[in-house]
Symmetry: C2
Subunit: 550 residues, 2 copies
C-alpha cells in the first residue's frame, strides 16, 4: 500500500501525453508533413525544457498545480481536516484547507490574483499575492484557473476592514498559501452567473433588463444545460427548501402516528377513469402508471392501517403546457380514519401546512430570502389569528359573483377565477393560504362522499396557496354498495367490477372505518411558497409533454 498522499501534483495512472505519436505514423506516408511536425516537436521540447527550468526555480512549485484524477490510490487518508466555510467566523487567523469551486478569477497586475470561491451557498474572496514565499508563477496559475473548476485551497482566514461586496462572506477573506485544481472545468455552455438571475417575463425567450447589459436567459436554454443551471445558488436554495418540505411533512405526520408507505406505480389496469394515463409495456401485457396512490392508500385504510402517508412520483399524461403542470411530479399523500367528521382531517391538514410554513420561515429562512430576493416576491401572508380561512364553495361562488364574475352555483372554477378568489380571500382574511370546502359532487371523483346537506355537493375540499391549488382531498365512500352505485352513476360511468376496480370496491365489504385524506403537489407548494414563475424550476429534471431529457 502506498504512502499517504498530500494534495500535491503527482501522477496517478494517467498515461503521459505524447503529442507526436500520430505525427510519426503519418510521417511514413507524407514526408513533408512529418518534417514540419518534427520541427514543431523540437520547438515544443525546447519550450518545455525552458518551462521546466523556470519551474525548478519556482519557490512555490509544490504549492499549486493540477492534481491527478483521484482514483482513491491511497487508502489511508491524509487526515487533513477540510473546513466548512459556514464556520469561518470561528476560524479567524487560522490556516484552513477546504474544497471549493471557482466563481471567477481576476488578475490585478502580475503579483496579485483575486478569486471568488464558492462552497454550498457561501462564497468567499481569496487573495493570491506574490511574496518571498509565493512565486509569480503561482499567481499567474491562480489568475488563469478556469471558472467552475473544483479546487483544494490552503489559506489563512483574515478579517477585512471594508465589507466585501462580491461575496456572501463579507467580513473575512482567505490569504492563499496553496491552491490545487482537483477537477478542471472546460468552457461552459451556460454561465452560472446567468442562472443566478431571474427568468425573462413570460413569452420572451431572452430579455435585457433595464440598466444591465446582459440578457436574461430563457428557461429552455437553462433546462437544456440543467446541470450547469442547477449550480446557481438560487437553485440550490430551491431544492434545499423542497427537501425541507418533505422532512417537515414526515416530521409532523410521523409524530401523529402516520406510517410511511410505498404503493405500486405500475398498475394492471387504468383504474382512475382511463384518461391521461401512461401505458407501460409489461412483459407481454399492458400496464399503466399510477396517476395517484388514491386507491392503494384507501386499501391500506381498509387493511386497518389507521394513518398512512406517502411521498412518491405521480404520473399524468395530460398534454398541458402551462407554468404549473408537469407530467411527472411528487405527491405528498395522506389518508386517515376519522372518528365523527371529515373536518377532523381538514383540521389536521391545515395544522400540517401551518407547521410547514412556520418551520420554513425559521429553518429555511436563508434559502427562502435568497430566492424571493431574485424574484422580488412578497412574504407569504398567514392570518394573525392562526385560524386558516375555511370557506364553503357556495360562499366562494358568492364572493366571486359580488366581484363581477359570471358563474353558477355548481360550476367548477377556472384558473383565473381561482386566482381572483385568492386575491379576494387575501383582502378579506389577510391569508395567502385557505381551504375551500364542500365542492359540487359532479366535478369530483366517483369515490367522493356526497354531502348530507345538499346531494349536489360533497364532503370534499381543496387547499390554495397564493390563489392556486396545492391539495385536493375528500371524505371517501367506505361502503362498497354506495361506492359501486356512485361509480355507475358517474360521468363517465366506471364499472365497479372492471379490472383494477373489483379489488378496490370489495375491500370496503369487510368493515372499513370512515376515512378522508388528500394529496399535495410538492412542486406546487415550493413554487407558490417562493412565488416562482414556473413549476419547472422546482423539478430537478422536469418532465412535460415536450421534455424527457436530461
Amino acid at each position: 500500500m502506498a504512502e499517504p498522499q498530500p494534495p500535491a501534483a503527482t501522477t496517478d495512472g494517467e498515461p503521459p501525453k505524447e503529442p507526436s505519436k500520430n505525427a510519426l505514423k503519418k510521417a511514413q506516408k507524407e514526408k513533408e508533413k512529418a518534417e514540419k511536425k518534427a520541427a514543431a516537436k523540437a520547438r515544443e521540447l525546447a519550450e518545455r525544457t525552458k518551462q521546466q527550468a523556470a519551474a525548478a526555480e519556482d519557490i512555490s512549485k509544490d504549492a499549486y498545480g493540477e492534481l491527478p484524477l483521484i482514483g482513491s490510490k491511497d487508502f489511508k487518508p491524509t487526515g487533513a481536516q477540510r473546513s466548512d466555510l459556514s464556520d469561518i467566523a470561528s476560524l479567524e487567523d487560522k490556516e484552513i484547507v477546504f474544497r471549493c469551486w471557482v466563481e471567477n478569477a481576476r488578475p490585478q497586475g502580475a503579483k496579485l490574483a483575486f478569486l471568488n470561491l464558492r462552497q454550498g451557498l457561501n462564497t468567499v474572496q481569496a487573495v493570491v499575492a506574490a511574496s518571498e514565499t509565493l512565486s509569480k508563477h503561482m499567481v499567474k496559475f491562480a489568475q488563469n484557473v478556469s471558472t467552475e473548476s473544483t479546487l483544494v485551497v490552503t489559506g489563512t482566514v483574515k478579517r477585512v476592514q471594508e465589507p466585501i461586496k462580491s461575496a456572501t462572506i463579507k467580513d473575512f477573506e482567505i490569504h492563499v498559501s496553496k491552491l490545487f485544481v482537483e477537477a478542471k472545468a472546460h468552457v461552459l455552455p451556460l454561465q452560472v452567473e446567468d442562472a443566478e438571475r431571474p427568468l425573462p417575463t413570460e413569452g420572451a425567450a431572452e430579455e435585457i433588463k433595464e440598466g444591465e447589459g446582459r440578457p436574461l436567459v430563457g428557461l429552455n436554454t437553462r433546462l437544456n444545460h440543467r446541470t450547469i443551471d442547477l449550480r446557481a445558488k438560487i437553485n440550490h436554495a430551491i431544492f434545499v427548501i423542497k427537501s425541507g418540505v418533505c422532512t417537515l411533512f414526515q416530521e409532523f405526520l410521523g409524530q401523529r402516528g402516520f406510517v410511511l408507505i410505498q404503493t405500486p406505480k405500475i398498475l394492471g389496469a387504468a383504474s382512475e377513469g382511463g384518461a391521461n394515463v401512461f401505458e407501460v409495456k409489461y412483459f407481454d401485457k399492458k400496464a399503466f402508471l399510477a396517476q395517484s396512490p388514491q386507491l392503494a392508500k384507501q386499501m391500506c385504510i381498509a387493511s386497518r392501517f389507521q394513518r398512512v402517508m406517502e411521498i412518491g412520483p405521480v404520473f399524468r399524461a395530460e398534454n398541458s403546457n402551462t407554468a404549473r403542470h408537469l407530467t411527472e411530479f411528487t405527491g405528498l399523500d395522506l389518508e386517515m380514519e376519522f372518528q365523527e367528521n371529515y373536518h377532523e382531517v381538514m383540521g389536521l391538514l391545515e395544522d400540517l401546512m401551518l407547521f410547514i410554513f412556520k418551520e420554513l420561515n425559521s429553518r429555511y429562512k436563508k434559502e427562502t430570502d435568497l430566492v424571493r430576493s431574485v424574484y422580488h416576491v412578497e412574504d407569504f401572508k398567514l392570518p394573525e389569528s392562526g385560524k386558516v380561512p375555511r370557506i364553503p364553495f357556495t360562499e366562494g361562488i358568492k364572493m366571486l359573483r359580488e366581484a363581477g364574475e359570471d358563474l353558477n352555483d355548481y360550476d367548477d372554477l377556472t384558473t383565473p377565477q381561482e386566482k381572483h378568489l385568492g386575491r379576494l380571500v387575501l383582502e378579506k382574511y389577510g391569508s395567502d393560504f385557505y381551504t375551500l370546502d364542500q365542492f359540487p359532487l359532479a366535478i369530483r371523483p366517483a369515490y367522493t362522499m356526497p354531502s348530507p346537506h345538499d346531494p349536489k355537493l360533497s364532503n370534499s375540499y381543496d387547499m390554495f396557496m397564493r390563489g392556486q391549488e396545492i391539495l385536493s382531498g375528500a371524505q371517501r365512500i367506505h361502503d362498497a354498495d354506495l361506492l359501486a352505485k356512485q361509480m355507475r352513476a358517474h360521468d363517465p360511468p366506471i364499472d365497479p367490477d372492471g379490472p383494477g376496480m373489483k379489488d378496490y370496491v370489495d375491500c370496503f365489504r369487510y368493515g372499513c372505518p370512515p376515512h378522508a385524506g388528500g394529496g399535495f403537489g410538492l412542486e406546487r407548494i415550493v413554487q407558490f411558497w417562493l412565488g416562482l414563475p414556473n413549476i419547472r424550476m422546482t423539478s430537478l429534471f422536469p418532465r412535460d409533454p415536450q421534455r424527457v431529457a436530461p
Copy 2:
C-alpha cells in the same frame, strides 16, 4: 346545522328501504304475483311491528345497534374522547370510548358474550353481560357481530386476576356498556387468523402444521386477498418497520447534510444499457422507466449538491421469479462527494446501517419480536467490536475456495456462493452484516472507477445481510474522457454520445468533484432483518412478472 350526534342509531341520509316498490310496479302487469307480494308484505309488516314492540321493552335499545353510514352529517363533533388501547394501564376503572374491530365473538349461554377486540397491534377481551341495566337482546347482538366489523365501544377498564391468554393485553378487560357497529364486515374470503400464521415451506401451496388442524395458507392466496391479509398483526408490524427504516435512513443522513431529492422516473432513453427496462408510451414518443436514479443523482453531484439521498421506486423488467426479486421496489439511494478516498463513503454507509440496526432494536423491538416469533428467526448478529467486517473481494474468493467452492479470482459470485460466504463471515467475525470491497471491474457498470492497484479490480463494494446483497455501490468516474473511454470498452459497449448518455457524460467536463454512493433495496433490508422467506411479504402490493394486481 344539526345537533351534535352521539354514537347512536339514527338515520343519516340513506333512503329508507321499501321492499315492495318493485313488486307494486310488476303488479300492474301480473296480478297473481302482486297478490303474493302483498301477502308477504303484510307478514313482514306484522313481524316488524312485533320486533318494534320487543324493542320498546328493550332496556338497552339505545346502547347497541348498527350506526348509519358516517356521512359527516354533523359538523360539530360530539367531543367524546376516543381512547388508545396502548394507554389502558392508566385507564383502570375508567369508562372509555374507543374504535376497534372484531377478532372474534364467543357466546356463553344467553347472558354472556366474550369478544376479542383489536386496535392497531393491541387486542383486548371485552365482556358483554346481561344485568338489570343491560338486556339479553344486547348480549345476543354482541354474540352475533361479524368478525372484522368496525365497532365503537363504550365500557369500563377492569383489572383481571388471571392473565388473559387470547389477547395481547393480559391484565385488563373491558366491561361493555355500549356497542355500536360502525361498519359491518361481510363473510371474509381469507381469515385474518390464517394470515397471522407462517407461510408453508417453499414449494407447498398449503401445508398442515404438525399438531394443528388448520392448513397453512400459501402466499398466492394471501396476495390475492391482500387487503384482508394485510390486516394481520404480523403484516402491520412488517410495514411499521419498513416505514421505520425510511425514517432512520433520512434521520441519519439529514443530520449529515444530505438533501432529499426526487429524480425523474420517466427517461427519454434506456440509458443503463437498455436491457431489463420497461417501455412507456409517452405521447407520440417512446420513453422508459428508470432502473435506478444512478445517472440523475450523479448529475446532482456534478451540479454541486454535495450530498444527496433519494427514496423512490425502481423498476426492473427482469423475468426473475425468485423469493428476492420484485419488478418494482423501493431504492434507498445516496451519493456524495468525498475528500480523498471512497472508503470515506463506505465508512458512512456502514455507520448508517449500524445506526439503523441499533434503532430498529430499540424503537421497533416490539414489531421485530412479533414477526420473528412467527418465523422463529434468530437475532441479527452484529460484531461486538462495533467494527463492520470489510473484506476484499479476493479475500472472499479465498475463503470460499478454502471452504471447497470452485471459482476463479475474477468470477462473480452466485447466490448460493454469496450465502455460503455469509455463513463463513458469520463464523469468523460474528456478524450478519458485512462489506465486500474491490469487486472485479468487468462485472460492474461502466461508470465504476477502476482500482489503482489492479486494473482488473474496481473501487466498488456490496453490502450483505444474512449472506444476501442489500446494497451495491462504488466510486464513480468523475472525468468525462475516462468515462467515455470506459463506456466504449464496456461489454456490451455503450455510446457516450448516444441518447440519454451525452448529457450525463458532459456534466463531468465542468469540474465535478470525486464522489461515491450506493443504492439499498429497502424491501431486502426489511426481509433480511426479519428473516422472512419471501420479499413479496415486504411490499404492500407486490409486483413481479406474473402479478400487477391488486
